[in-house]
């Protein structure tokens, strides 16, 4: 079991309140996912020549005392990328000018225990072990701003309870996926992708789905085409919620084994595994509440 939450605000003024509206949704899914939590938030894009990297220092010896300032100095000394860090304890968003791949190589070489959570122009990603309330407090989720987000509470079944196996998973740039369910063919999918040079970070089944869909997008598929190929290739139980810079997308397996409910009004689209997590959203009484059908694609534009 796991919990999924998603929120896309249509009213620009609500972007300031995205995190505040989402925290009760995430905490509402604690019973479905008490062991880890995470979210990806999509905000204003940085310039085309810039990239943001979300970095996790929980695997380093220093943890929450990680010397981010020293890292910034070393990185800026090593290459001209005007790196700056937005730090929250064991987590930081690194904004850089220039080639993100070169920076990632440098980080792997000099800070091998630093874990890369996401890359992109609009995505920031946070995930860690702990209850949803603890993780939300750790990273001050309530003050996050942006147009849409994808969140997850985890009850691990397919791989160990570790920060890197928490959701959301990311691949490529500005793409993330969360999963409630279990895939029956993740290793088959991996064996298709690895010979193409696609690297996996963990043994988690969800990572296979994430990398598969992102691979299709990178190969030029529009999101609906990529999701259609997902229906054909990914076997098992799933509700997937995905985020891109401009979209939130939801699909459920043909047997609808894992739940999802959507509430939509003029101000927002909110998605959760159960209505419990939507019950306290503003004016929810007048929202259109519905259950997304199995094997259908639901894509909302930010």
């Amino acid at each position: 079991m796991c919990g999924i939450v998603g929120l896309l605000v249509k009213t620009p003024a609500l972007r300031e309140r995205l995190g505040e509206l989402m925290v009760p949704m995430l905490i509402g899914m604690t019973e479905r996912g008490p062991d880890s939590a995470g979210l990806a938030v999509f905000g204003k894009e940085v310039d085309a020549g810039q990239r943001k990297l979300s970095l996790y220092a929980g695997f380093t010896d220093e943890g929450a005392q990680f010397p981010w300032a020293a890292l910034a100095d070393a990185l800026n000394h090593a290459m001209d990328v005007t790196a700056r860090f937005d730090v929250k304890g064991n987590h930081a968003v690194l904004t850089l000018q220039g080639d993100a791949e070169r920076v990632k190589l440098w980080l792997r070489e000099h800070y091998p225990k630093l874990y890369l959570l996401s890359t992109g122009r609009s995505i920031d990603l946070y995930k860690d072990i702990g209850s949803p309330a603890e993780v939300a407090a750790r990273y001050d989720f309530a003050n996050l701003k942006g147009s849409h987000l994808v969140g997850h509470t985890r009850m691990a079944t397919e791989s160990a309870v570790t920060p890197d196996r928490a959701h959301p998973f990311t691949a490529g740039e500005d793409f993330c996926l969360v999963h409630n369910g279990s895939l029956s063919n993740p290793y088959g999918v991996r064996r298709k992708l690895e010979p193409l040079g696609i690297h996996f970070d963990t043994d988690n089944d969800t990572e296979a789905a994430c990398r598969f869909i992102e691979w299709r997008l990178r190969e030029g598929d529009a999101l609906p085409e990529a999701l259609q190929k997902g229906f054909e290739e990914l076997d098992g139980f799933y509700t997937f919620l995905m985020g891109t810079t401009t979209e939130l997308a939801l699909i459920r397996d043909p047997f609808a084994c894992k739940p999802a409910v959507v509430a939509e009004n003029d101000d927002y689209v909110a998605i959760a595994s159960e209505f419990r997590s939507l019950a306290h959203l503003p004016d929810i009484r007048n929202a259109k509440v519905f259950e997304p059908a199995p094997e259908e694609m639901y894509v909302w534009k930010a």
């Binding site: 043909p254 047997f255 609808a256 739940p259 409910v261 159960e274 209505f275 419990r276 997590s277 939507l278 019950a279 306290h280 009484r285 509440v289 519905f290 259950e291 059908a293 199995p294």
Partner: protein, 229 residues
């Protein structure tokens, strides 16, 4: 007549259910309102008294499960397993219902005004279900006894491995399950549909429904079938 309100913002589902599990004679005739249900699970589960419960909003999983005697109205939608294993009484969902609505209900009447999800009436054991909208795939799977009236459409594999339950469908059926077959509507079927629709507050023409029941070819092991059904 006594009327009582439970507000689930300030009271727990356990407070509510413990009250509903009180002395049946004392509870008989009472009207209970549940406000701010907020999708909580297990609302009004295991009631065994002739009372009336109104849930003023969306209910979570298993609302009205194992109901006996009570009339339970959910003014919003219902989560997975609404009225599962109901024995008697009535559960009425004004909105839509999620998967497994009325699963293995032995008696009573489940009415869903909107659509029902997948596996509606799975393993039905004698209860009646009327769905105003459509039902998802695998509905009435292995349904043993009871009746289902579906005013809208049905998904894949309707009535797969059906026993003696009878299904009446007004709309399109995407596919029938193994051993389910269309049969002519008899006068008794028309009467049954008329009465069930009336009990659900619907007024469709009973003659617009098709009857689906078991061909009974799976009742006995057929060694020659070569696992092809």
């Amino acid at each position: 007549m006594e009327s009582l309100n439970f507000d689930l913002e300030t009271q727990t589902v356990r407070d509510l259910n413990q009250y509903l599990h009180g002395d049946a004679a004392a509870l008989a005739g009472q009207r209970i309102a549940v406000t701010s249900p907020n999708g909580a699970h297990n609302i009004a589960v295991g009631v065994d008294a002739e009372l009336h419960v109104t849930i003023k909003g969306h209910a979570g999983y298993y609302a009205g499960g194992m109901n006996q005697q009570a009339t339970i109205v959910i003014e919003g939608s219902a989560g997975t397993g609404v009225a599962e294993n109901m024995m008697s009484g009535k559960v009425h969902v004004r909105g839509f219902a999620s998967n497994g609505a009325g699963a293995s209900a032995h008696g009573g009447l489940l009415v869903i005004d909107g659509d029902a999800g997948l596996r509606c009436g799975i393993s039905l054991k004698g209860g009646d279900i009327v769905v105003g909208g459509s039902v998802g795939s695998f509905s009435a799977f292995m349904a043993q006894a009871g009746r289902m009236v579906i005013c809208g459409d049905a998904g894949d594999a309707l009535g797969d491995s059906l026993y003696e339950a009878v299904l009446y469908v007004r709309g399109a059926v995407k596919s029938l399950g193994a051993d389910a077959q269309y049969e002519p509507m008899s006068d008794a079927d028309l009467d049954a549909v008329r009465l069930l629709l009336a009990a659900a507050g619907l007024d469709h023409d009973p003659a617009s429904f098709k009857r689906i029941a078991s061909a009974r070819t799976l009742y006995h092991w057929n060694a020659d079938a070569n696992q092809e059904y």
